[in-house]
């Protein structure tokens, strides 16, 4: 297996694994935020703000994998 086929196999799989991780993370964040809003509807704005920040951080991990994919795509 040369570099080209290794990369073309590994890049999509890598993105998929990263997406699994941040998907689980986003789901947990959303679950927690929804439960918190359900318990304390008057704190919705604060909870949403914190939720968006943490969601952005969780999502960033996939984005890093995505950027890495684009950096290495030229070598395929």
């Amino acid at each position: 297996m040369d570099v080209h086929s290794a990369l073309s196999l590994a890049l999509p799989i890598g993105i998929g694994i990263a997406a699994i991780g941040s998907g689980i993370g986003l789901g947990l964040i959303g679950q927690g935020a929804m439960q918190a809003i359900g318990r304390q509807p008057e704190a919705t704005a604060k909870i949403q703000l914190a939720m968006i920040i943490i969601a952005a951080l969780a999502e960033a991990l996939t984005i890093y994998a995505f950027v890495t994919m684009f950096l290495l795509q030229g070598k395929i």
Binding site: K46, L49, A50, I52, I53, I54, A60, I63, Y64, F70
Partner: protein, 464 residues
């Protein structure tokens, strides 16, 4: 019939001519599209001047000095128009110019024919009967299908070959190569191979600057524009925002209306949002910086959704510049608010007792790395999201194009329309995230004693 008919002809010809010129510019050659557009414009101006000439000659106001003045102006305009036509015939392809010139006349003929047909008793006999109308529609569709097949099978390339060329060449141009002859397809593929070899630049939708470079491949200014493409687009966005802001605040009213009202709504919303993060004491100072950041990033993100435009934030250069601005600003705020010693104290993790001082050598690299990681994560997040969005749209647009390869049509199914709401949502969300994270970095740098809202401290800790 009459003037209202002419107005409708103008309207139809403008739209039709624009679409045909764009298709010609994209699929045949940009100069041909330009020539066609020039021909349509020439013809439309000619019709307009004729109307100007005939109305004072035959209308109720004929003979008055005003009407005579109008006739003089119209004649002068005609002279200028014919001179311009001669110049255009010298410069551009005559065939496309004549085709563009004939388009409004064809529109007039078709419209007149349609009106005659709609008034005829045979048409009414067909339309007013359900079964006859259905049969006629079916016959018309079938005839169009076969006519299209007969028209396009003559010059079209073999399907398999174009598909191979497309999948080989990266495909993501959002265009079909279906109506190319085999030699052109091969030339395209080799050109794209060369492009890949020299520089692995992913291809997006065609934009204005790309089309200009294609139209004038030897002009130095076109290469300059192509090289600084991202810069040109971001400056264009800044210019648009400047004009909007200037127009909104030019004549401030106590009771705002129209544009001023909208801009005030945005500014007030942003201001209250940022103050809710940074607190009422510190917040208002940072509203201009953070609010500008939000509006600028949002406008740049959304700019790519306009046809023939390009998102500047889909380039890492722009997002790194934005993130570095935030980084420098945050460090500057830290120096100004805490002083050099206080800043160092912050970097050492605010040691107050023996344990703190023992841990300080460990805390310093952690804090320095944390500060350096902030711009990297900010820029990569924005770039990755916007670029990914654009690539998603391009991928689905090319999928829609390849859905209809058997007819060699120069258009496809707009598959990417489904993802426009997603792109809109993502653009707003990423601008919001960038602003919120920037304000939290500022919040972390500010002296903590002055801060009295503990609810946001927790969010800030998470964000670190």
């Amino acid at each position: 019939m009459g003037l209202e008919f002419l107005a409708r002809v103008r309207h139809t010809s403008t739209w039709l001519g624009g679409v045909i010129a764009l298709v010609a510019a994209t699929y045949v050659s940009p100069l041909l599209g330009l020539a066609f557009a020039a021909g349509v414009t020439w013809s439309l101006v000619n019709l307009q001047l004729l109307e100007r000439l005939i109305v004072p000659l035959t209308g109720p106001a004929r003979g008055t000095p005003d009407a005579r003045r109008r006739i003089g102006f119209a004649l002068l305009g005609m002279l200028a128009l014919f001179a311009a036509g001669a110049v255009l015939l010298e410069l551009l392809s005559p065939a496309a110019l004549v085709a563009g010139f004939l388009l409004p006349l064809a529109v007039i003929a078709v419209k007149a024919l349609t009106q005659a047909l709609l008034a005829s008793p045979a048409w009414r006999g067909i339309v007013n009967h359900r079964w006859r109308a259905g049969l006629a529609g079916l016959a018309l569709t079938t005839a169009t299908w076969f006519a299209l097949g007969a028209l396009t099978s003559a010059g079209g390339a073999p399907v398999g070959r174009t598909v191979v060329a497309q999948s080989h060449g990266g495909a993501a141009r959002g265009e079909i190569h279906g109506d190319e002859t085999p030699t052109e397809a091969r030339g395209n593929a080799t050109a794209e191979e060369k492009g890949e070899a020299s520089e692995s630049k992913p291809q997006g939708f065609a934009n204005v600057i790309g089309l200009l470079t294609g139209a004038f491949p030897h002009a130095t200014w076109a290469h300059f524009l192509e090289h600084y493409e991202v810069l040109v687009f971001s400056l264009l966005v800044a210019l648009i925002l400047l004009v909007v802001a200037h127009r909104a605040s030019r004549d401030p009213q106590l009771v705002p209306r129209g544009l001023q009202n909208g801009v005030e709504l945005v500014v007030e919303g942003l201001s209250s949002f940022i103050i809710s993060i940074l607190g009422p004491a510190q917040g208002p100072r940072f509203v201009p910086f953070l609010g500008t950041l939000f509006i600028y990033i949002l406008a740049m993100n959304l700019f790519g959704l306009i046809p023939f435009m390009h998102s500047p934030t889909a380039s890492l250069n722009v997002t790194v510049a934005l993130a570095l601005t935030v980084f420098v600003y945050v460090q500057f705020i830290g120096f100004k608010e805490l002083g050099p010693l206080g800043w160092l104290d912050h970097m050492l993790g605010n040691p107050r007792n023996l344990t703190g001082w023992l841990l300080a050598p460990l805390m310093l690299p952690i804090h320095v790395l944390g500060e350096l990681a902030k711009p990297i994560s900010l820029s990569c997040r924005l770039f990755g999201n916007i670029f990914g969005e654009d690539m998603l749209l391009v991928a689905f647009a090319s999928l829609g194009v390849t859905m209809l390869p058997f007819k060699h049509l120069p258009f496809g199914v707009p598959m990417h329309a489904l993802f426009f709401p997603l792109a809109l949502l993502g653009s707003v969300l990423q601008a919001l995230v960038f602003t919120v994270l920037s304000s939290i970095y500022i919040l972390l740098m500010l002296p903590h004693e002055h801060h009295d809202e503990h609810g946001h401290e927790e969010g800030a800790q998470h964000a670190h």
